[in-house]
Symmetry: C2
Subunit: 305 residues, 2 copies
C-alpha cells in the first residue's frame, strides 16, 4: 500500500496510538509519524521504543503541517486538546479520534475546530487489558472493526480515512453517533461495568478470602477480572460520557437479572434452561463471524492451538 | 506414576469424564476405565473415540467391581444415579462426583450410599464452553484446582483420591461443602448468571441488531458470550442447587451495581475511578498465581503467543 498521509500527528501515546504507529509503519501508510503525550515519561518511553519518527513536547508542535491528526487521549481530555490545537491545524487536514463514545466527543471537540478541517470521529473496537506506549503492537486492529462517524464530513476525506484503517488491518463500518453509543453500551460499556462490579463484590466479601478468589478464578470469574483490569481513567470517562445509553442498558439488565433471580428463588428450572439455551446461539454467531476463536477456553489450553 | 485404582467407573461421559479418562491414561493411573452414559448416542461416540477400555449400557454394569466410581452427570441427576448404583457398589470402593455444587450433592447422594463405601465429593475447577464426549482432552486439569470435600471420610481413601487428581495434573484443595458453595458462587456461579443475562439483554434489544452485536462483540461482550455458551442443563441445575449462596451474592452484586449506577447518574467520576482502580489489583493477583495468562486478549492476538 502507498502513503496516504504525509504527516500523521498522534496526540496521546497509549495502547491505541502506539498500535496505530506500528500498524501504519507495517503497511507504509504515513510519510512521517509525529507523536506527543502529556507526560514526559510517556514521551521518553515512546522515544526509546522508536515507533514514531519524531516525538515532540506539545500537541501544538505535533499538529504542525500534519494532514491527519489523531486524538488518542481519554474522552474527558479531548475538548481541551481540541481547543489547544485548533488554531494550529493545517487547512484541509483531517482530524479524527479513537474515543469509546462518540456523541460526547462530537459535542466537546467539534465546536473548537475551524471550518477548514475535516472532523471524522472514529472508534476502533480493539484493545487489550494493557495500556501505555509499551503495550502497542501492529496486529491489534487486524480483522477488528473500526467504526467511523462521518457526521456530514467531506466524502473524499472520509474515504481516505477508511483506506487508512483498512490498511492497518481493520474492517470499517460507518454509523451515526447515537447509534454507536447505544450499540457500544450493549457490547462493551455495560459488560465492563458489570465485570468491574462483580470483581468488586468478590473483593468485599470477607468470608471468602482474596487468595480463594484468586486461586479459584478459573471457573468464570477470570474473564471478568481481565475486563475489570482495563484502564480506570478511560472507563471513568466512558461512563460519564455515555451516561444515557449506559443507564438504559443497565435498566434492562437489572430487569432481566431480577427475572432470573426470581426463577432461581421459586425453582423454575424450565425458565432458566430456556434462557441459557437461547444465549448459546449468539455465541455461535460470533464464532461464525470470525470475531472470536472456537478453541476451548480461548485457546489457553495447549492442545487446541 | 503407578496404577491407583484397578477399575474406575465413569458415569456420564461429557467434557469432564472424558477428560478424566484421557488424563488417567496419560499418567497410567487406572487399571481399567469403564464408562457409561444415559444416551446411546453418547455411548456410541465414546466407543468410537476409545478413551475408555469398555463402554457399558448401564450405571449398574459400570460400577461392578469398580474401586472408584465417578458421578459425572448433571447435579440434578445425581440422586437418582446414586439410588440406582448403591446396591451394586463394591465394599471399600470410593465414590466421588464432579458437580459444581457440593451441599446439594451431599444431601441427595449420601443417603443412598451404603456404609461400606467412601463418599468424597469433588469439584474440578476446569472446563471449556464445549460439552460432550468429543470435547475432552488430557490437559484439561493441568495446573487447575480440584476441590475435594472430605466430609469425614476415611483418610487413606481421601489421600488416594487426592493422588489421583494430582496425577491428572490438578492441584487439590479441601474444604467444607458450604464454604465451597459460597466461594464458587462468587468465582463462578454468579458470573455465569450475569453473563447469561447480559447476552440475553443484547438479544432482546430491537434497536440493536443481532448482526451488530455479533460484529462488534470484540469490545468486552465476547467474553460474556463464551461464558454464556456453557451447557444449559448443567447451569440450570447449579442455580437450583446453590440457590442460597447465589441469591446472597446476587444481592450484594445488585447493591454495588446500583451504587455505581448512581455514580454515573450524578457524574461522580472520582467514585468510578477509585472503584476501577481497586479491581485492577485483583487481576494482577490472578496472573501472579498462575491462573491466567498475562498475554493481551488471552493470547488471541498473534504477536504474543
Amino acid at each position: 500500500m502507498s502513503v496516504l498521509y504525509n504527516r500523521v500527528a498522534l496526540i496521546g501515546l497509549g495502547l491505541i496510538a502506539s498500535s496505530m504507529a506500528h500498524a501504519m509503519r507495517r503497511a507504509g501508510l504515513a510519510g512521517e509519524i509525529v507523536g506527543t503525550a502529556r507526560s514526559a515519561e510517556t514521551r521518553d518511553i515512546a522515544r526509546e521504543l522508536g515507533f514514531c519518527d519524531r516525538i515532540v513536547d506539545t500537541a501544538v508542535l505535533a499538529v504542525e503541517g500534519a494532514d491527519l491528526v489523531v486524538l488518542a487521549v481519554p474522552v474527558g481530555a479531548m475538548g481541551a486538546v481540541a481547543a489547544e490545537i485548533a488554531p494550529h491545524l493545517q487547512p484541509g487536514a483531517t482530524v479524527t479520534d479513537v474515543g469509546s463514545v462518540k456523541r460526547a466527543v462530537i459535542e466537546t471537540v467539534a465546536p473548537h475546530l475551524p471550518d477548514h478541517v475535516h472532523f471524522i470521529p472514529g472508534h476502533p473496537l480493539a484493545g487489550t487489558e494493557h495500556s501505555g506506549p509499551r503495550s502497542g503492537f501492529a496486529e491489534l486492529f487486524d480483522n477488528r472493526w473500526n467504526i467511523l462517524i462521518p457526521n456530514g464530513a467531506d466524502e473524499a476525506a472520509t474515504e481516505k480515512l477508511i483506506d487508512l484503517w483498512k490498511g492497518m488491518g481493520a474492517n470499517v463500518e460507518t454509523m451515526d453517533a447515537d447509534h454507536h453509543d447505544l450499540v457500544l453500551s450493549v457490547t462493551s460499556h455495560t459488560p465492563h461495568l458489570i465485570a468491574y462490579t462483580m470483581v468488586g463484590v468478590a473483593d468485599d466479601l470477607s468470608r471468602v478470602t482474596d487468595s480463594e478468589v484468586i486461586k479459584f478464578s478459573a471457573a468464570g470469574f477470570r474473564d471478568f477480572t481481565r475486563i475489570a483490569a482495563s484502564d480506570p481513567t478511560m472507563w471513568r470517562d466512558v461512563f460519564l460520557a455515555n451516561k444515557d445509553a449506559t443507564l438504559e442498558i443497565l435498566g434492562r439488565f437489572t430487569e432481566e437479572l431480577f427475572a432470573l433471580q426470581r426463577a432461581i428463588r421459586i425453582g423454575d428450572g424450565e425458565a432458566l434452561f430456556d434462557y441459557f439455551t437461547r444465549t448459546r446461539a449468539i455465541r455461535r454467531g460470533i464464532i461464525e463471524a470470525g470475531q472470536d476463536t472456537d478453541a476451548p477456553d480461548f485457546g489457553r489450553t495447549g492442545k487446541h492451538k
